[in-house]
C-alpha cells in the first residue's frame, strides 16, 4: 500500500489523544446536593478507577475516527498487482486520403490484427485522427467494444496531422509505460505543423497501409464576377480524361472535359458574368480520394471587404495613411478588394457605425471620451475584428479601457523609456508569422523607438516580442470576435515599421488571419470549430457568422509518404521521467481505487455510532 500524501500519516499520532483522555480524564459529574451527608462514609473509588479505560467502545470509535481521517487525507492506494499490463493505444488515420478504395478497410484490418496480438487483460484505447485527434475509447479491457468502434470508423474530410494523435495517446497513457499502434497511410505532409515527442517508455509501432492511387482533384476555385477559374490536378501517375462541372450547388452546371497527364494541373476557365453566391466545381473521377473531387467558392455580393480606420479627428488623418495604402496595395488581387474608410470622432465609435466594418483599426483616440471608446469592447465580444495600435495618439491607458477586459493590459508609453528593439517572433509557427515567411525577418530589422508596456493574461496569446523581450503583438479571441494589439503605432511615429518591406504583407496576413482567407470568403476546414460545418460546403463560419466556403486541404492529396523508419526518426524520444511516471501512476491508482471515499464514509458512520453511544450513556447517567 502506498500513500499520495504520506505527510498526513503524522496525524495518526492524534489517536493517542483520546486514549490519554480516556485513561486520565474522568468525567467530573457535578456534586449531588444532599442533606444527610454526615451519615455518608468516604470511599476510595477515585484511585481504583483512574487507571481503567473508561468507555472502551467510545474510545475505540474515537480512535478509529481519527485514524480514518488521517488515512483518508494521506490518500492511500494499493500497488498495482503484477498482472497489470501496460495499455495499448490504437491510433487510426481517418483523414480524407483514407477514403481511397480499400484503404480504410486495410487500416481496420491492421488495427484489428494489433488488437488480436494483445492479451485480453491489456487495456486498449482507440483514437481516430485527421486534423484533430479524437479519443474514441479510453483504455479498456473490453476489446469487443474497441472492435465495434473500429468497424464504425469512416474517413472524414480532414488532412493528416500526426502531432494530434501522438499527443492524445500520450495523454491517455498519462506518462505510464505503454504502446501506441499508429495505423496510417504515412503521408509526409502530416508533419507540416511542427513535431511532437514521445517518452522513451512508450513503444510506437507505425503500421503503413494503402498504396499510391490515381487521384484527380479540384485544387482551387476562384470566382469573380467576370469568370471562374478551376484548377484541376492529376495527382496520379497515369493520364486521365475527366469532366469538370461548375456552377451553383443547387442549379444546372456547366461542364468541361479535360485530359491530364500524370502529375499535371490545368486551369479551366468558366466565363461569367457570375452573380454573388456559392459556387462549386466538381470533377468526375472514379477512384482516388472522393473528398477532394469538389471545391466550393463564395462570390460575395458586396464589392469589397470593409476596413475602418478610427482616428480622433481629421488633423490626424496622416496616421491612417500607411494602413490605407497597404490595403490599397492588397486590393489589387483578383479575389480580394478592400474598401478602407477613415472614421473620426465619437460618431465613428457608435455600435451602429462599427457594425458596418469587417475589420477595424484603432489608431487614435485624441479628443474622444473614455466612455465612448468603451463601445469597442462589446464590438469585439459580438464577433467584431479589432486591431489596436497604441502610439502617441492612442494613449495606452485609454486603449487599456477596451483591451483589459479582454485579457490584454496596456500601460506606460513614456518617451524616456529605452528603445525596445525590433519585432521578434514568439513562435514562428503561429499562422500569422508562418504566412509571412521570409518577410518576418524584415520585422526584426524594424527600428522601434518607443512602445507601451503590454501584459498578456492567460487565454491571450503573444505573437511577437520586442528585442528586449516585452510583448509587441498579442491576440485574444472572444467567441467569434478577435482582438489584435500592437504595442507600438502604425503611423510611423514610434517606429519605421510602415516603411519596411514586410509592412504590406503584415497588414495583408493580419487581415487574412483575422477575417479568414479571401477576406473571410474562404475558411480552411481545419479552422472550423463547429463540428456541423467540418465538411466541404458554404457555411456560416466567416467573420461574424457570414457565409464562407469550407474546403478540404488540397495538400492532403499529396501522396508522398515517409517510411516507418523515417517516421520514427522524426519523433523526439526524451527519456521518461521515472519519478513523474511513478507519481502519475500513483495518482491514477489512487483515483481509480478511491479508498479515501470509503475512509470518509466509514468516518461518518463511526461518528454517528459514537454520538449515539455517547448520547445513550449520558441519558443513563441522568437516570442514575
Amino acid at each position: 500500500m502506498g500513500f499520495l500524501a504520506p505527510a498526513f500519516l503524522v496525524g495518526l499520532a492524534a489517536v493517542a489523544v483520546p486514549i490519554l483522555l480516556h485513561l486520565f480524564r474522568r468525567e467530573v459529574a457535578p456534586p449531588v446536593a444532599f442533606t444527610a451527608v454526615r451519615f455518608l462514609q468516604k470511599r476510595t473509588i477515585e484511585q481504583q478507577e483512574r487507571r481503567r479505560i473508561q468507555d472502551p467502545w467510545l474510545l475505540l470509535l474515537r480512535v478509529a475516527a481519527l485514524a480514518l481521517l488521517a488515512l483518508a487525507f494521506a490518500r492511500p492506494y494499493l500497488q498495482a498487482d503484477a498482472t497489470s499490463r501496460p495499455p495499448v493505444v490504437l491510433a487510426v488515420d481517418v483523414s480524407y486520403s483514407m477514403g481511397a478504395p480499400g484503404r480504410l478497410d486495410a487500416a481496420r484490418t491492421a488495427a484489428t490484427a494489433a488488437l488480436d496480438e494483445v492479451g485480453g487483460d491489456v487495456p486498449v484505447g482507440l483514437i481516430s485522427f485527421a486534423d484533430r485527434a479524437m479519443v474514441v475509447a479510453e483504455p479498456t479491457t473490453d476489446h469487443g467494444a474497441i472492435r465495434a468502434q473500429l468497424t464504425a470508423l469512416t474517413a472524414g474530410h480532414g488532412a493528416t496531422r500526426y502531432a494530434g494523435p501522438l499527443e492524445a495517446a500520450r495523454s491517455l497513457l498519462e506518462g505510464r509505460e505503454g504502446r501506441i499502434v499508429l495505423v496510417t497511410d504515412l503521408q509526409s505532409r502530416g508533419w507540416a505543423r511542427g513535431t511532437t515527442s514521445l517518452p522513451d517508455n512508450v513503444r510506437l509501432d507505425v503500421v503503413g497501409v494503402g498504396a499510391r492511387v490515381d487521384n484527380v482533384l479540384v485544387r482551387d476555385l476562384l470566382v469573380t464576377r467576370d469568370q471562374a477559374r478551376a484548377v484541376v490536378s492529376n495527382a496520379g501517375q497515369v493520364p486521365a480524361t475527366v469532366t469538370v462541372q461548375f456552377g451553383r450547388p443547387d442549379a444546372a452546371m456547366t461542364t468541361q472535359s479535360v485530359s491530364l497527364d500524370g502529375g499535371v494541373s490545368r486551369e479551366l476557365v468558366f466565363p461569367g458574368p457570375h452573380a454573388g453566391g456559392p459556387y462549386v466545381a466538381r470533377v468526375a473521377h472514379v477512384g482516388g480520394f472522393p473528398a477532394d473531387d469538389e471545391r466550393y467558392a463564395l462570390l460575395r455580393d458586396q464589392a469589397a471587404t470593409t476596413v475602418r480606420v478610427l482616428i480622433g479627428d481629421e488633423v490626424e488623418r496622416s496616421l491612417a495613411l500607411f494602413v490605407e495604402r497597404a490595403f490599397g496595395a492588397l486590393g489589387t488581387e483578383p479575389t480580394t478588394s478592400y474598401a478602407v474608410t477613415v472614421g473620426t470622432g465619437a460618431d465613428a465609435l457608435t455600435a451602429e457605425a462599427l457594425r458596418q466594418a469587417d475589420l477595424v483599426f484603432w489608431l487614435s483616440a485624441t479628443g474622444i471620451d473614455r466612455r465612448v471608446v468603451a463601445t469597442l469592447e462589446p464590438f469585439v465580444r459580438d464577433g467584431g475584428r479589432l486591431v489596436v495600435a497604441c502610439g502617441p495618439a492612442l494613449d495606452p491607458r485609454v486603449a487599456d479601457v477596451v483591451t483589459r477586459p479582454l485579457g490584454i493590459t496596456l500601460a506606460g508609453g513614456d518617451p524616456g523609456a529605452a528603445a525596445p528593439g525590433g519585432l521578434v517572433a514568439q513562435d514562428p509557427r503561429h499562422p500569422l508569422l508562418a504566412a509571412l515567411g521570409e518577410a518576418r525577418l524584415d520585422l526584426a530589422r524594424t527600428t522601434v523607438a518607443q512602445a507601451c508596456d503590454m501584459g498578456v493574461a492567460p487565454g491571450a496569446t503573444t505573437i511577437s516580442r520586442f528585442g528586449d523581450g516585452r510583448p509587441a503583438l498579442a491576440e485574444v479571441r472572444v467567441g467569434t470576435g478577435h482582438l489584435v494589439v500592437l504595442a507600438t503605432d502604425l503611423g510611423r511615429q514610434w517606429n519605421n515599421l510602415p516603411v519596411q518591406a514586410a509592412f504590406v504583407p503584415l497588414v495583408g496576413e493580419l487581415a487574412r488571419h483575422m477575417l479568414g482567407d479571401g477576406a473571410g470568403a474562404r475558411v480552411a476546414l481545419a479552422n472550423v470549430e463547429d463540428a456541423r460545418y467540418q465538411r466541404p460546403g458554404v457555411w456560416p463560419v466567416g467573420p461574424r457568422g457570414q457565409l464562407a466556403a469550407v474546403n478540404v486541404d488540397p495538400s492532403e492529396s499529396d501522396q508522398a509518404v515517409v517510411s516507418v523508419d523515417e517516421f520514427q526518426q522524426a519523433l523526439a524520444r526524451p527519456p521518461a521521467d521515472e519519478a513523474r511516471v511513478a507519481r502519475i501512476e500513483a495518482v491514477r491508482l489512487e483515483q481509480d481505487q478511491g479508498w479515501w471515499r470509503y475512509g470518509m464514509a466509514l468516518l461518518g458512520l463511526t461518528l454517528v455510532a459514537e454520538s449515539l453511544i455517547a448520547r445513550r450513556r449520558r441519558a443513563a447517567e441522568v437516570v442514575s
Binding site: A29, A33, T35, R38, F39, L40, Q41, R43, E49
Partner: protein, 302 residues
C-alpha cells in the same frame, strides 16, 4: 368514637396540595379532608364556656345532658358550649437550608412543613386556641406571638408563606429563644428535619418538657434521606455546611441507612422517654395522613 381508617386514596398527596393556590387554601383543604375522616372534632378541651341549652335530640351524646336542669324541669336539655382559649400553642418551623431539599418532583421539606403548620394553625385557630409561629434556622427569623384575635390566622399564614430556606439550623437556640417569650405553659409544635446537633436538640426539647410544656415534634424527612436511592459514584455536597463526600451510592447505602436508623432511633427513644410526641413525616406521605397519625395519638389531650 374512633375515626374511620381512611384508605390511601382519600388522602391528599403532597403533589396535589402543592398544586393548590394559596397557603390558606392548602390548609383548609387539608383540615377539611381531615375532619371529614374524623366525623367529629377531636378537640375536647377541659375548659369550655357555656353557650346555650338545646333540647335533647336522639343522637346527642348523653354526657352532654344537663342533669340538673332535668331535675328541675323534667326535660332533657343538652349544653351547647364554645371552646375557650385554654391552650397556648407555639408552632416552630425549621427554615434551615436542609429544609429546602427535595429528591423528586414533590414538595421540599420546608413546603411540607409550611402546609403542615398551616393546617395546624387553621385547625387550632378554628377552636380559638392562641396560636403563635416561630421561623428559625441558626436563629429566630420570624416570630408571631400567640394570640386569639381577628386576623391571627392570616398573620400566621403570611409569615409562613414568606419562609425561605436559610442557613444552618440551631434548633436548641431557637427553642430557648421561643421559651423565653412564652408567658405560660402550652403546646409547642416543632416541624424540623432535626439535622442538627442531636444532643443539644434533645436536651432543649427535654428542658421544655420539664417546664411543663406539651411538646410535639414533626420530624420531616425526604424519601431520599430515608432510603438513599443513589447508585453511581459521585460527590455529595451538604447543602448546609458545604461539606463534600466522595462515595459510591450503592455500596455506601447500607452504612448510611444504618447510621440514619440509629440517629432516628436515638430521637424516638429520647423524646418519647421524655413524654414528647415524636411523629415522622415523610414528604412523600399525604399531609393529612401525617397530621392524622399524630392527632389519633394525641387528640385526647387537646
Amino acid at each position: 368514637m374512633h375515626a374511620a381508617a381512611p384508605g390511601p386514596s382519600r388522602f391528599l398527596s403532597p403533589e396535589i396540595v402543592a398544586g393548590l393556590g394559596t397557603l390558606e387554601l392548602k390548609a383548609r383543604t387539608i383540615v377539611e379532608g381531615l375532619l371529614l375522616g374524623l366525623h367529629r372534632s377531636p378537640f375536647r378541651g377541659s375548659s369550655v364556656e357555656f353557650a346555650e341549652y338545646r333540647q335533647y335530640m336522639p343522637g346527642d351524646d348523653p354526657s352532654t345532658v344537663d342533669w340538673k336542669v332535668y331535675a328541675r324541669s323534667d326535660r332533657h336539655y343538652v349544653k351547647k358550649f364554645e371552646h375557650d382559649t385554654n391552650v397556648q400553642v407555639q408552632l416552630l418551623v425549621d427554615t434551615s437550608a436542609s429544609m429546602g431539599y427535595r429528591s423528586g418532583t414533590g414538595m421540599t421539606k420546608l413546603q411540607y412543613a409550611q402546609c403542615l403548620t398551616a393546617a395546624l394553625a387553621y385547625l387550632l385557630t378554628g377552636q380559638r386556641d392562641a396560636v403563635g409561629l416561630a421561623l428559625y434556622d441558626d436563629r429566630l427569623r420570624d416570630y408571631v406571638p400567640s394570640a386569639v384575635k381577628a386576623g391571627q390566622l392570616t398573620r400566621l399564614l403570611i409569615a409562613l408563606d414568606h419562609a425561605r430556606p436559610g442557613a444552618t439550623s440551631d434548633t436548641a437556640a431557637a427553642l430557648k429563644q421561643v421559651t423565653d417569650r412564652l408567658r405560660r405553659r402550652g403546646l409547642i409544635v416543632v416541624c424540623s428535619d432535626l439535622l442538627d446537633d442531636q444532643p443539644r436538640v434533645i436536651e432543649g426539647l427535654q428542658l421544655l418538657r420539664a417546664r411543663g410544656m406539651e411538646v410535639v415534634v414533626f420530624h420531616i424527612l425526604d424519601e431520599a434521606e430515608l432510603t438513599f436511592p443513589f447508585e453511581a459514584a459521585g460527590t455529595f455536597r451538604d447543602v448546609e455546611t458545604g461539606e463534600e463526600v466522595l462515595t459510591h451510592g450503592a455500596s455506601a447505602r447500607e452504612a448510611y441507612l444504618e447510621a440514619v436508623g440509629a440517629w432516628r432511633e436515638t430521637y424516638v427513644t429520647a423524646l418519647r422517654g421524655a413524654g414528647i410526641d415524636y411523629q415522622l413525616a415523610r414528604t412523600s406521605a399525604p399531609l393529612d395522613l401525617s397530621l392524622l397519625g399524630w392527632l389519633g395519638a394525641r387528640g385526647r389531650t387537646l
